[in-house]
Symmetry: C2
Subunit: 332 residues, 2 copies
């Protein structure tokens, strides 16, 4: 059976297209018998309205474009879940695109998303190159940049200072008495937010006359297994480390597992610190330090900003700042 159109429903019901449209939407007065006939015909034909036509006609869609860098750990799926939940009941629908931490791909994905004429767009981070920023501005819809605060937003913004998160963690670890630091990360040339955290961390080390005694940045993508492997290598190669800072919690969890297998006591001998505040980090049998990245909440707030901005309430650009809290430090 070919897809039924409104026209077909109308003729099956013996009325005009317009009457069928009105009956289906229930906006205007339609006589009860007519409405019944139309609904019956629609059901009979498995009629599903064509949103393409609807949006064309209305000159606007109910779409919210969302561009995230990755789906390979739980971080961005949680952001997306927050956005979906926050949009619920608004009639708006999120559409997702993945940029793979690649600026060129990101630009193409954004262009692609914009071609669907979304009502708003949510993108990850503030570090888009100028041409991408221009495209976002020229789209003439609300733009919400999420997760980061370190930079100049195109329009609205909700996130946390990534550099600040690195600084805070460094201060906390130094206050906890650690002095011989290692760093383990991955693909930092592409993940600009992890890079900002690392730089923030190093700024504070520097202020204290300290530096990373060992540093390993792998070109691969972040994962538990990678964190484990790099930690095995680092612990064997660099004796005397009392703390390792990781690019995120996945890597850090791998680090913990490496220490457990090597019989290195955590946190007594080595303190493990990550970033994100994943559920995993809270469930581990040995605590690792981590900063909460409030992913779900950021998604929900981004959705709220979209709703406000598209309902016309206030055209001014808003910024919502989260202050990442640190968990899992040993209580001395």
């Amino acid at each position: 059976m070919r897809k039924a159109t409104l026209e077909e429903v109308a003729s099956a019901a013996g009325v005009s297209k317009m009457t069928a449209s009105r009956a289906l939407r229930g906006t205007t007065d339609v006589s009860p018998e007519t409405r019944a006939k139309v609904l019956q015909a629609a059901k009979q034909l498995s009629y599903v309205a064509n949103r393409l036509a609807l949006s064309m006609s209305a000159q606007r869609t109910k779409l919210v474009a969302v561009v995230v860098p990755s789906m390979s750990n739980i971080v961005f799926p949680e952001v997306m879940a927050g956005i979906s939940a926050g949009l619920e009941g608004s009639g708006m629908q999120a559409v997702f695109g993945i940029s793979d931490y690649d600026v060129d791909k990101e630009r193409e994905v954004i262009r692609d998303m914009l071609s669907w004429q979304p009502s708003a767009i949510i993108v990850t981070g503030l570090d888009q190159p100028e041409d991408t920023r221009r495209m976002l501005k020229d789209a003439d819809i609300p733009v919400i940049q999420i997760m980061d605060l370190d930079g100049e937003p195109v329009d609205h913004c909700v996130g946390l200072s990534q550099g600040g998160a690195g600084e805070d963690m460094a201060r906390a670890l130094i206050a906890a008495g650690r002095r011989r630091f290692g760093y383990i990360g991955s693909a930092l040339n592409r993940d600009t937010r992890a890079e900002k955290r690392r730089r923030g961390f190093e700024r504070v080390l520097d202020q204290h006359g300290l530096r990373f005694a060992a540093k390993h940045i792998d070109p691969g993508s972040s994962s538990i297994v990678l964190g484990k492997r790099l930690t095995m290598e680092m612990v064997k190669a660099s004796a005397g480390l009392d703390c390792i800072y990781y690019s995120n919690d996945d890597m850090a969890a791998g680090g913990l597992f490496a220490c457990m297998e090597l019989g290195v006591s955590v946190p007594d001998e080595i303190l493990i610190a990550g970033f994100n505040g994943l559920e995993l980090a809270h469930a581990l049998p040995v605590k690792i330090a981590t900063s909460e990245s409030s992913r779900r909440e950021i998604g929900e707030i981004a959705a709220r900003l979209v709703r406000e901005a598209t309902s016309g309430e206030g055209r001014s650009s808003k910024t919502v700042a989260f202050k990442p809290q640190i968990f899992g430090l040993p209580t001395t």
Copy 2:
């Protein structure tokens, strides 16, 4: 700046809409100067083609609708990543919807997706109620059901036998010498695939004259923390268990962490078995048993089936079966 239309680009370049269209797409011959003028005008105006209009005109979209039940663990994001990767280069774009393991919500999400006139639709599982199945059939596009094989596909299907996975795991654990089994799961009334695994497991237990000595099914959603809490309770309450089967790897990892904190030796005293073959399961310092669910591959194959079906190659319904392999059993 309002969004520019082709019309505006054309008039800015001093040509007709059609010429502008041709210059932009590069399909037909356009004189070099004209093309240059048009491209220049398009760039100047930040022109982004309107896909709504394009799809309307072409009577078809390049969209593939994907409906998954959840985003709260890494399983479905990995499926989605596989689909996105598999679609790369085809010009097709995946659009995702979340059903929250709710059949009513699933029906509405599917209806919503269909209203965008996608070229194909991928849905999770085979257990849709009859009205949803009817809607899928009547959509008159390729339908791919993923993850499960136990049931009657609407059209194409790629997955693994969930009941069989449960059976296989039970056989393997019995072969490993275990006899006193516990079961820990969550929300099984909604996650029909986890329920199928549990039933498969119980069928084999039954064949061996065994049964679960303890069983706890929590109404909450699956998580590491929940698995940990339920395991703490079960281990304390039911002495003598030598194996616990979990609804998935998240719950099982929580179970392992509980055992570690309680000083229960894994796998000597209690063998922990989950499902999915998550990266986490492979990185843990103590191995847990798990069956590989080939999520990413299933996503990629689903994408391949979409490409084949939409390119018209063969209208026959295909089924691709995965045989889940078991990892992490203690080698005796």
